[in-house]
């Protein structure tokens, strides 16, 4: 049977993906001395000390809370404004619509490195520096265009008759939008939120530039620790391993939506 050999490539690929992750997680259960002492596949003296440090030291665990706050805030803002805009692009023609759509996409193309310094000045000027809101708003730069792009694809897949019937039945625009339209494209919203969560959670350059103490993301706390207290590899590995958890949760919850959603929408 030829079909039986099909599992080889995905298996090898997944193995290739898992090896670095395994090596990070296994390192997080070692002490820094053991790590520096030489290579070993499994921890010899299994320790949870690194994790204990992270969960008991506020300067560590506050980073996770900060990151989660601005990521969720960003996803909430993005989806709220992107939904009506995507609807407008998918249903109506209006002056400058095509140009506007491309202009939105160009913001997805702006290298974050280009904007780091001006962002710092802008958000300092409006008094938002070092707040979760600043990072959440800054991440809108690339997340809103992406969301509009994805959602527009999904919405164009929904027949226009749905809207027309609802309006004939006497639904007001917003009531139709919230009660009927949003549930119809739930899979698309799932996919859009997945991408927005993903890009906001993994971004570091802007998040680091816009925060100093109160809203510092976990990723930035990791780089700081690496430079001040020597190179605490065990601790860093544990902190890194913990950053995998929110992502895993999100993928697990949207896994059906992703396959279905992609197939349905234009993305």
């Amino acid at each position: 049977m030829i079909a039986n050999r099909r599992w080889i490539l995905p298996t090898l690929y997944i193995l290739f993906l898992m090896l670095p992750i395994y090596s990070l997680v296994s390192m997080s259960f070692k002490t820094t001395n053991e790590i520096l002492g030489g290579f070993s596949l499994f921890p010899k003296n299994f320790t949870l000390e690194n994790y204990v440090t992270i969960f008991t030291d506020p300067t560590w665990y506050i980073g996770y809370i900060n990151s989660l706050i601005y990521v969720l805030l960003n996803t909430a803002i993005s989806i709220t404004v992107a939904l009506p805009a995507a609807y407008a692009f998918s249903r109506y023609r209006f002056m400058g619509d095509k140009h506007l759509f491309f202009w939105l996409l160009t913001n997805r193309m702006a290298p974050a490195a280009v904007f780091a310094l001006p962002f710092f000045q802008l958000y300092s000027a409006v008094g938002l520096f070092d707040t979760h809101l600043a990072v959440a708003l800054a991440h809108c730069l690339f997340n809103i265009p992406l969301m509009v792009w994805i959602l527009e694809g999904f919405m164009s897949g929904v027949p226009k008759e749905l809207d027309e019937t609802a309006f004939l039945d006497g639904y007001s625009f917003w009531r139709f939008f919230i009660r009927i339209f949003i549930p119809t494209i739930a899979a698309g919203i799932g996919v859009a939120m997945f991408f927005s969560f993903m890009y906001s959670w993994v971004e570091l350059l802007l998040a680091k530039t816009l925060t100093s103490v109160d809203a510092k993301p976990i990723a930035a706390i990791m780089t700081r620790t690496a430079s001040t207290s020597g190179y605490e590899l065990g601790l860093l590995a544990a902190a890194g391993s913990l950053t995998l958890i929110p992502g895993t949760f999100v993928i697990y919850f949207v896994r059906h939506h992703i396959a279905k959603g992609f197939a349905m929408g234009r993305v």
């Binding site: 993906l17 670095p20 090596s23 290579f39 506007l100 490195a113 802008l122 990791m222 993928i251």
Partner: protein, 286 residues
């Protein structure tokens, strides 16, 4: 779909417009402002006209990092796109393994970029990392912190590790949208595996693949955090890509003028290539 002409739709777009414009216009104008002036500190600026643009366009350093960037982007696209399609084609279409595959494959996409860099740094260290140790035990002389070629290969491997799954997910979605009837028809015609791929699967994947390539192009062209954490741009300048070079000039040396000019040129290049892609994509759709 035929759309209705409705100027009131502007109201629905307005919030997005305001938010993105706030984030895009003001910083972009700041950069433009820097790019035409010289500063010696104390917030005093002097008009320089287009001098910085001429300087940057003529500078060897910019050419070098630009070419490095092009090589890198071309390399990862040439590896990630075929590999991603191949993995997507051989993935199961239904059953419990689909979820397992999707979750495991999407995992690298959700790791913060500096953690990706740090993870690969530790993974590839010759004395204590799994990859580096194994390679050296097998008799390869491998040390990415000192050998330019090894650093280059490690950076490419990291990007392939990090982003191929995006191509897989998108291609897989494209494949899932092909009705079973298409395959049956192809089987009745006695089509070979290659013919099925070429005339049934590839056309259906065309749209998602364009998006995948566009996203991979943009993101790899702007790559900063991962190579910065992995190699710091070294050894020498081997892995100093455009963004890393830009940050070195802007924040390291605080040469705001040249950095501003470089930013604008950089942005224009990305914009131009994406515009070409976008136009082709939209034309295919009509």
């Amino acid at each position: 779909m035929n759309k209705t002409l409705n100027q009131k739709a502007w109201w629905l777009v307005l919030p997005v417009l305001i938010l993105v414009a706030f984030n895009a216009f003001i910083p972009l104008m700041t950069v433009v402002n820097y790019s035409v002036q010289e500063t010696f500190g104390n917030n005093k600026f002097f008009w320089e006209g287009l001098r910085w643009y001429e300087d940057v366009l003529a500078s060897e350093r910019f050419h070098a990092s630009f070419i490095r960037q092009l090589y890198f982007t071309a390399t990862i696209l040439l590896i990630e796109v075929p590999l991603g399609i191949a993995v997507a084609l051989s993935m199961p279409r239904s059953g419990p393994w689909v979820s397992v595959c999707l979750v495991l494959m999407a995992l690298p996409l959700l790791i913060p970029w500096n953690v990706v860099g740090a993870m690969w740094n530790i993974y590839a260290l010759p004395d204590i990392g799994l990859l580096g140790y194994t390679l050296n035990s097998l008799g390869f002389d491998y040390n990415f912190t000192q050998q330019p070629v090894a650093a280059w290969i490690t950076t490419v491997a990291m990007d392939v590790w990090h982003w191929t799954s995006l191509v897989v997910l998108l291609s897989y979605a494209g494949l899932c949208s092909i009705p079973e009837a298409y395959y049956q028809a192809a089987r009745i015609d006695g089509a070979s595996k290659w013919a099925i791929f070429r005339y049934v699967q590839l056309p259906k994947m065309k749209h998602v693949l364009t998006i995948a390539i566009l996203l991979r192009f943009m993101d790899s062209f702007m790559i900063y955090t991962e190579p910065f954490v992995l190699t710091g741009g070294g050894p020498g300048n081997t892995t100093t890509f455009l963004s890393i070079d830009l940050v070195k000039i802007a924040l390291g040396q605080f040469d705001l003028g040249p950095a501003g000019a470089m930013s604008i040129i950089y942005f224009m290049v990305v914009l131009l290539i994406c515009w070409v892609f976008y136009t082709i994509m939209m034309r295919n759709e009509d």
